[in-house]
Amino acid sequence: MTGAALALRGLHVEVPDGERTRVLLDGVDLALAPGELVVVTGASGSGKSTLLTYAGLLRRPARGEVLVAGAPTAGLSERARTAARREHVALVYQSANLLPSLTAREQLELVAHVRGEHGAAARRRADELLARAHVAHRADALPARLSGGERQRVGVARALMARPTVLLADEPTAALDPDLSAEIARLLASAARDDGVATLVVSHDDAPLAHADRHLRLTQGALVAG
């Protein structure tokens, strides 16, 4: 057991590259405390999204260990890993990844539904989070009717709907102009500070750096101080 909300120990990932294999993560160690915001930057293809894949329990590492909320995950069955994701992990995506047939409010209600929470309480919380992300007035709009910035704010609100222990954001400001990027970065920082969520942001954009507790760079499979 450990006090870190998220801990990666000796995480090693190789991927096929033609006839050979390429090392994407070479024994990565990382620990995030509750409420801490860590930003990882790196060149395109350096393995930033892959890092989130393993940190978010979306894949099982062949070597190394991932601990979420202090508990090791290596021995978990697929069903238990899914439950751990549902309980502790939320993701914010580069392109928001909103479901086209759901309104902004329903994107959040879906998270509650997946967690087995229904009814007025879920709807109230969804409205509160949309208000906090400054998109309450767009609650009934479908994604096709939202601007890029609005979509990303709904994406962040959706991630917070799960009351996660760990929030992982994959290039959350990449497709936005500087003003919108700064706003999304502020929103993520507020999630970390106000809700105590351990937040790991991977980005090649500078916007999230202004709020980071730590800045790391992923280079040649290793995390180094930025």
């Binding site: 991927v15 096929p16 999204s49 892959t50 989130l52 894949t53 978010g56 979306l58 894949r59 069903r79 899914t82 439950a83 994701r85 549902r86 309980e87 992990v89 939320a90 993701l91 995506y93 580069q94 990844n97 479901l99 086209p100 047939s101 759901l102 329903e106 209600e109 879906l110 998270v111 539904h113 997946v114 967690r115 479908l142 799960a162 994959d170």
Partner: protein, 360 residues
Amino acid sequence: MFLALRDLRRGGRRFALIASVVALVAVLSTVLCGLADGLVRDGTSGLRALPITHLAFAPHSDAVFSRSTLDGRALAAWRARPGVQAAPLGVSFVNGAPVGGRRGEPSIDLALFGVRATDFLAAGDARRARELHGLVLARELRDDGVRYRIAGSDVVLPVLGFTYSGSYGHVPIAYTSLASWQRIAYGNDARGRYSAIALRLPRDAGTAAAAAGAGTELKTKAQAYDGSPGFTAETATMTLIRAFLLAISALVVGAFFTVLTVQRTRQIGLLKAMGASTAYVVRDGVAQMLVIVVLATVAGTAAGTAIVAALDGGPVPVALRPGGIAASAALLVAAGLAGSLVAFRRIARVEPAIALGVEA
């Protein structure tokens, strides 16, 4: 159902094509069901109308009247059993040409049933023909004052009356006395022969032993339908066509949902990434499929039922049997469900990492 219902409500056009195809299959399936039931009814209505529980045939005749010949010994053996009502029945197909002033009019094909006036088979208007040397025809052949010469014999029978007699092997039934039938079938050498014995058996009649004792092969009324000319081939053909339709429906629904699942791979990955179990995602997909297939089947079945109702009473033999139509619709839904299982198997294989665009 959270996502499935909203997807249906807001992406209705995407599902219109598959719903139309399923509805069309349901229309075809219902009309075929009506045709199959109509053919069965048309081919066996005469037997159905007989007030009997069983028929006894000569051994190995497979309920085909033309293969069966019995005589008074078999009848006496059946009549000797307590509680059994038995009557000789002669059945053959004949052609009757109008004679007298009606020359030049077309001849008619008849399934000629010969019965004794004193037996329980005789009832109502048909009794007169059984007592007299004449014909009682189906109501639809109503044409008073005609006499028919039965082809292949010199027997001329006047029409004595009309009744509902149904048809056998799609040929209208005409009743005559057993003596007239025997004269047509055997000439002057009938020796008391007839085709089969019509029976009313009490429930605990010990039927197998009785049939063996009488040297006969016993069939229930429903089993005797199999001997109706073309009955087995017709029902087998209709069953095969309906089975093909069900298979096509299963394939179409399966193919549609497979394509839909492939298109939604990233969406499924997203759901799994937020902690939805495979069972949750599959439940959502099955619910969506069921809503589409059930609604389309109900609409198609209603349209098919309307078509069958419109055809009823016309030259095409159709019948509306609610049980049969409901079973046909239920089978269609089951076929859709079976077909979509292939698609839902793919859902289990979708990795949550796809949500991040990481596929390697």
